[in-house]
Symmetry: C2
């Protein structure tokens, strides 16, 4: 086995999920994530924690979803997660389009029937990661060998030192009131007054639930201006390219795209919250050096900024205050490595990808 599989498991169990003796751990295993599951099982065992593996197959889900009429609420699954301390999702299927022909209304019904399961799962120390599989390599237009290198470069970071670095940006955002993004096709202002940024350092200790992570994000409001997302991606099974959004008084009032404008229109029409921003995120993981059409990696890439239409994360909001609410949370990404800057309260904190506290920064 590639020794990096064991290192991945160690980071996941120790740094990300902080697993300890007596924890009841659920590990969800994609059909091609077997090797990572074996390595994780060893680490979970060494910590003295118990282990239940679930099988996360798109083909199994599809068969059940297409056959079932009224989607029943899985009470046994809720009981499992209510009794669990930790949930580790090891993604890795054989076909990233395995559920492509499940109708939207069925997905919606399943999401509703699983609301209590999801809530119980979010109450655990949950972490989502992926094992590098051939199907993910294919989605990234990469060879399997090159894709494995890509994934481990992103995952096997010095997370402690990245957390320290990200803390600098978090402090600036927490102290600030307004963020302005300027770049080709972009001049956007938004309020971050009273909001708390999350230092997303790939650990539950940082309110961060993705491995890899490496972004600082907050929940903006009162967005004004125009933004262009120049990083191509697949949304709801369709290619989307060069999306532009125009905001007035916090709401999208116009949208366009070189490809996939209809998908963006569908998303905006989901509910009222889908026309407002739920997230401003700044990618700071420089182990990620290319876009692979996988949001888990793309939005964390250094020299990128992403915005999400829809739901805001509670961690960014003052206690008891509700942020933007929506059933969707759709991230879109801008490359800020050239002709771009980010200002906080009029002060430039990042230019062409370089932060104010880094070597080579030009104010």
């Amino acid at each position: 086995m590639d020794p990096r599989v064991h290192e991945h498991a160690e980071v996941l169990v120790d740094w990300s999920a902080r697993i300890d003796a007596g924890d009841d751990v659920v590990v969800s295993v994609g059909p091609d994530a077997h090797d990572l599951a074996v390595a994780v099982a060893e680490q979970v065992g060494e910590r003295g924690a118990s282990l239940l593996s679930t099988y996360d197959s798109g083909e199994v889900d599809r068969a059940h979803r297409l056959a079932v009429g009224d989607v029943p609420e899985p009470e046994h699954e809720r009981a499992l997660f209510e009794a669990a301390d930790v949930y580790l999702r090891l993604g890795g299927g054989r076909n990233t389009s395995a559920t492509a022909d499940v109708p939207a209304e069925t997905r919606r019904a399943v999401r509703e029937a699983h609301a209590a399961v999801r809530e119980a799962r979010y109450d655990t120390r949950w972490v989502s990661t992926v094992h590098p599989t051939r199907s993910l390599a294919q989605q990234a237009n990469m060879s399997y060998a090159a894709y494995r290198d890509f994934v481990y470069d992103a995952v096997l970071r010095d997370w402690e030192s990245l957390a320290d670095e990200m803390a600098v940006l978090k402090d600036r955002l927490d102290a600030g009131s307004e963020v302005r993004l300027v770049g080709p096709g972009t001049d956007l202002a938004m309020s971050i007054e009273g909001r708390t940024a999350v230092n997303s350092a790939a650990s539950v200790a940082y309110d961060s639930h993705n491995l890899p992570s490496g972004e600082v994000f907050t929940a903006p409001a009162d967005t004004e201006g125009e933004v262009t997302f120049d990083v191509p991606m697949t949304l709801q099974g369709q290619s989307v390219r060069d999306v532009t959004l125009r905001f007035e008084e916090g709401e999208v009032v116009a949208h366009d795209a070189a490809e996939g404008a209809n998908v963006i229109g569908d998303i905006l029409d989901t509910d009222a919250g889908a026309r407002r921003l739920g997230e401003l995120g700044i990618g700071m993981n420089r182990g990620i050096d290319r876009f692979t059409d996988n949001i888990l990696f793309d939005e964390k890439m250094g020299d990128t900024v992403h915005l999400a239409l829809g739901r805001a994360y509670d961690a960014c909001l003052p206690e008891g205050e509700a942020g933007n609410d929506s059933t969707v949370h759709v991230d879109m990404i801008t490359d800020v490595s050239e002709d771009s800057r980010m200002e906080i309260d009029g002060e430039v904190v990042q230019r062409n990808g370089t932060f104010a506290w880094e070597d080579g920064f030009e104010a």
Copy 2:
């Protein structure tokens, strides 16, 4: 997909587990049982039942078991099964020896830590089956294609009519007091007074939890005489051949074997109950036409009789009465197709595999 995979799933869901709308179903999936899992998911969905798949990998278990010190009790897994209505085990790994190097004391510790989980699982409508895999074909010394035919011949029976046929033997056993087995190297008498035979027709409706099944079994007592098991098998990873046991006053007083006598000795030394019989079973599934070194199939084969050292099944005992107790239940098999007979209270009910109520029977 082989259409027999869908037929297998239908038999499992309808005949065996009697799945209905609103049932909360756990399906345990072996790493190579994926195709059967997809077919079962469709059937479970069609019945309007919910589905949670668990991943049953010997390699994952081994990694956890070898690493863990004190085995923790998995409380989340117990909660899952306490809330579940149905448990379907779809066996099918990639290596039937995947856990061969887990020490016996670790297995014992795991069995103890999982006692409550096991109990909760046995309280569901549970059914154990296997998907034909290459590793099972290898264990059977068969090609993959031939093994698939073998499995489906065993599983895709007319279970209703086999249940009717087995009911005839069950009635004879329920009415009888003593069974005598006579054959080459065998002359064994045992009491079945007051015991109830199980018509094991591969359905929870018959207290039967294996697919395939096709046996009638009861819990004998006061065994006297000698028996030879001429069907070779693998026990605890070792080959065992031509085992003979001598019983006095219900207990094994002498044992021998052409191969693996030490394994039998180890089993007999487990605890007091391991020296007594827990089961007398009569195989009646004539879809099984060869031994494949897999007890799920071998013990159900027509023209065979098996006896188990160790634990007796509650279903065979009068309400409130405890049968033979042991942590083991080890089945061993005799071919009765030649020079053999079974008597109930002195009356021959089977000779050379043919029952008294069948064509060709010679009293």
